[in-house]
Symmetry: C2
Subunit: 349 residues, 2 copies
């Protein structure tokens, strides 16, 4: 081994240092950068969630709508926290947090999934455990009430990581998975969004900017020191051709490794795949020694922004530090600490 990596790394570290100290970081989207206090006897448990990043602006949202989102985010946080507080695993906690968001019409996942061009839903989900780096994912499932539960089943009960479309649901039939017909996934506001996308005459493809808004995700640290991450989405409004985004891609939408961090991302999925966004945060933490906040910021405000793409992510390291960078006007997000205190945010500040 030569020592030549030192100048190269120093260069890289300088670049990241510049990024990490950029004004974008000062405005508060990296909520809760500090780890929970270790001074108490409380176990070092923590859970963070997101409900999608995008053009979420106070002027476009009534007080009632904002309150509805805040309540839904808090409900998800408390559901995941209950698991952690009772000594449950990070895996169980991220699922417990995601299920109510999949069951809510507010988010683009499960019940509230956006429509494909055929007025069906094609949902994607993935989960990963940091201890052994086990993972499971489903892509394009059409009748699973809670795709995140199916992703977990793939992880636990199949030798595979990723199952697609009808096959994933045929696999599920031997297990305790709830199915719903297409009507369950029909929500008026998603149909309206589809009509709007389709009336955009001449547009062969949906506008990316808002069509993917509302993906949900969670990261958690349990009392045993294990991390987990999970992501669930309905994908893009008016999607065609069996498009698979980043949410079911281990390394793009979801990653967890107890040696570095757990990540769930949300945004314009194609770019998240090309940049291996979720894994990249963990790789930076592991290989460069950057802090979680520095690495997460470098990926969103550096890599993703330089590619001209938008989105955000939530990340947690083995000490419970949380980073939640995004380069959009807003991201639905929240954190619950070991003592049960909740912080929920929607806008940039």
């Amino acid at each position: 081994m030569s020592a030549r990596y030192i100048p190269r790394l120093a260069c890289f570290a300088l670049l990241i240092g510049l990024l990490a100290s950029a004004p974008a970081l000062v405005v508060g989207q990296d909520a809760n950068p500090a780890a929970p206090s270790a001074a108490t006897d409380e176990p070092n448990i923590r859970l963070a969630i997101h409900g999608g990043a995008g053009t979420i602006l106070p002027e476009n949202m009534t007080d009632a709508q904002e309150a509805e989102y805040r309540a839904a985010l808090e409900e998800a946080l408390r559901a995941g926290y209950e698991v952690l507080r009772n000594g449950g695993s990070a895996t169980d906690a991220v699922i417990a947090a995601i299920v109510p968001m999949e069951d809510s019409p507010l988010f683009n996942a499960g019940h509230g999934s956006v429509f494909t061009a055929d007025e069906t839903v094609e949902m994607d989900a993935s989960i990963m455990e940091g201890a052994m780096r086990n993972a499971g994912a489903v892509a394009g499932v059409m009748r699973t009430k809670n795709p995140i539960r199916l992703a977990r089943l793939v992880m636990d009960e199949s030798p595979h990581v990723m199952l697609a479309r009808e096959g994933a649901e045929v696999f599920a039939e031997d297990y305790d998975i709830e199915f719903r017909d297409n009507e369950y996934f029909h929500t008026d506001h998603r149909l309206e969004a589809l009509r709007n996308a389709q009336s955009d005459a001449g547009a062969a493809y949906p506008e990316a900017s808002e069509a993917y808004l509302g993906t949900v995700g969670a990261v958690a640290l349990d009392a045993d020191g294990n991390l987990a991450a999970a992501t669930s989405t309905g994908g893009m409004t008016n999607k065609k051709f069996g498009r698979i985004g980043d949410s079911p891609i281990i390394g793009a939408g979801t990653y967890a490794d107890n040696r570095s961090c757990a990540v769930s991302s949300t945004g314009h999925g194609e770019f998240f795949i090309r940049a291996a966004i979720a894994y990249d945060v963990c790789a930076m933490v592991r290989y460069t020694g950057l802090s979680l906040a520095e690495a997460a910021s470098a990926v969103i405000h550096g890599t993703l922004t330089e590619m001209g793409a938008t989105g955000g992510l939530i990340a947690m390291d083995p000490e419970g530090h949380v980073a939640m960078p995004f380069n959009t006007p807003g991201m639905y997000r929240g954190v619950i600490d070991a003592d049960g205190s909740v912080q929920v945010d929607i806008f940039r500040d």
Copy 2:
């Protein structure tokens, strides 16, 4: 920025140094570690391919069979080289190299794809360009003669990175893509393999060890200094439930970034997904300053081997260095240099 990354990186570098000097490396599977000579006026072009890693042993192969594989690998190398020598792009070169392997019955891709449990084929392919990190992939396509061409079409002509199953082929119908019926993909030796897998009474899933053997891939550096990587496979014999392996996953089976390297991997796909193998090689090169050979070796002989999984990869950096580590008895592989000289290898030595 604190300087605390230095001890952590030094630790990591020491570990990698130990790995890179392990006996496994001495036996020659990291062929052609040196870059092509820069002393001539020849452009610095190079192409490497693989045709799968697995229990490939001299005692299990007749001289005639070995000659057949060697000829097929050389044909693929020369097809890719013709593109590079005429000033073509690395993208065109990796496709030119992969198409004859997809058209050959010898490899588990295209014509020679293994059968699913339903006696159909479900083929996966992906491609990535190092310049802008554009990428395209298809998963589970059933009637496309050359899935790698369809992956490229997704990259060039759709706003998406990944399309799955019927949808991908509906997308392809508007373009010049050749389709074949299931009979074209029927080869007697693959049917026999399926029967063997199915007669393994009580086995709910195929044995992983050999069921995925024969994935093909290519990496290339063109005269403009651009890298590209591509991978194509029929997946696992007797697969069910729409299983997607690593080959169509950008970051697992395929990655290319002009700032670090181009990688195509082959092996037990579930582990390659969980470890983000292809991206990890590039991340190590970019973030730690390890050489390509050191990083590729750390990923295969370190990460993958520690997970208890088998496989290999081919990798090329912007200077044309090639690494081809594998932890199986053999890997079909070859390199062609700027002067047209070919090296083809199958076994460990």
